[in-house]
């Protein structure tokens, strides 16, 4: 069930989940919509660099694939004076200014959320996520955005601009271990 603006504010007040850095907690004004809350763009743009001709997610390079991605991208800091001009058909990563926390707690309801774009930006051709919009129960941190400009013109990205909306839903029941989800793991992990 999607939470209304007032229920989002209640949930925040009761500590059921957290959205850190919201500019206001008045449900009848921005950043709240009737059943969502707008989040803003952070101050970093991550530009993947050209590298290998193919990506093999099954490969286990030293340190894992995450290190490979971190080492094969360029970080740009943006500001009000120096926004980032996202050209047409260009993909970058960024994150939200706000951070969230959706804890798993057996004694209180659990919540999850979906990141959706804003219609005003979508009409310009700007996608801020594609696939994988779900912020699952148990996640904490800022939300990574996969941004691509499918419009015909470059779009300027400014820090703190409203960039996406968060739709929060209550999880039915408490998440528990699901043994059939252990993909390919044959024995317990070791320690360092």
């Amino acid at each position: 069930m999607i939470l209304s603006n007032t229920e989002i504010v209640k949930g925040l007040a009761n500590g059921l989940f957290k959205i850190n850095g919201l500019p206001s907690l008045d449900p009848s004004s921005p950043p709240f919509n009737t059943s969502a809350v707008d989040l803003r763009l952070g101050s970093e743009i991550i530009i993947p660099t050209h590298g290998q001709t193919q990506i093999d997610l099954s490969a286990s390079a030293r340190g894992g694939i995450a290190v490979h991605w971190a080492n094969n991208s360029r970080r740009v800091t943006i500001s009000e004076d120096q926004p980032y001009s996202l050209r047409a058909n260009t993909f970058v990563l960024s994150n939200t200014l706000e951070s969230v926390d959706f804890p798993i707690n057996a004694s209180t309801p659990c919540f999850a959320a979906r990141v959706e774009g804003k219609s005003s930006l979508a009409r310009c051709g700007l996608l801020v996520h594609f696939t994988a919009p779900t912020i699952h129960a148990g996640f904490a941190g800022s939300i990574t955005l996969e941004i691509i400009n499918l419009g015909p013109s470059p779009i300027l990205l400014f820090p703190r601009m409203p960039i996406c909306q968060l739709i929060i839903e209550q999880v039915h029941g408490t998440p528990t271990a699901a043994p059939n989800q252990f993909h390919g793991q044959t024995h317990p992990a070791g320690v360092l």
């Binding site: 991550i46 894992g64 995450a66 971190a70 057996a106 360092l192």
Partner: protein
């Protein structure tokens, strides 16, 4: 154990793509797993680092625990991990 609870597992960290995150490497018996995690989810213990996870179940017979990572690993697309207790 019935209720999920917070736990910490040893990991290796390196700079993430965003300044707010670490690139996390988890050494398992099968293969190395990796993910990005917000820096708030990592604590330093001496020279080592630990990642905040949710302990979802404990198998006392096999001396293992099932943990939920903060986000999915690149290598297997899963947030679930079995570790020794």
């Amino acid at each position: 154990m019935n209720a999920p609870k917070i736990g910490w597992i040893p990991v290796q960290i390196s700079p993430g793509a965003l300044s707010s995150e670490w690139a996390i490497a988890i050494h398992t018996g099968d293969k190395d797993l990796s993910l990005f995690a917000d820096k708030s989810q990592v604590m330093q213990v001496g020279d080592a680092h630990q990642l905040r996870v949710t302990i979802m179940a404990i198998d006392e017979g096999n001396h293992t625990q099932t943990v939920l990572l903060p986000s999915e690993c690149f290598e297997n697309g899963s947030r679930w991990l079995i570790l020794p207790v």
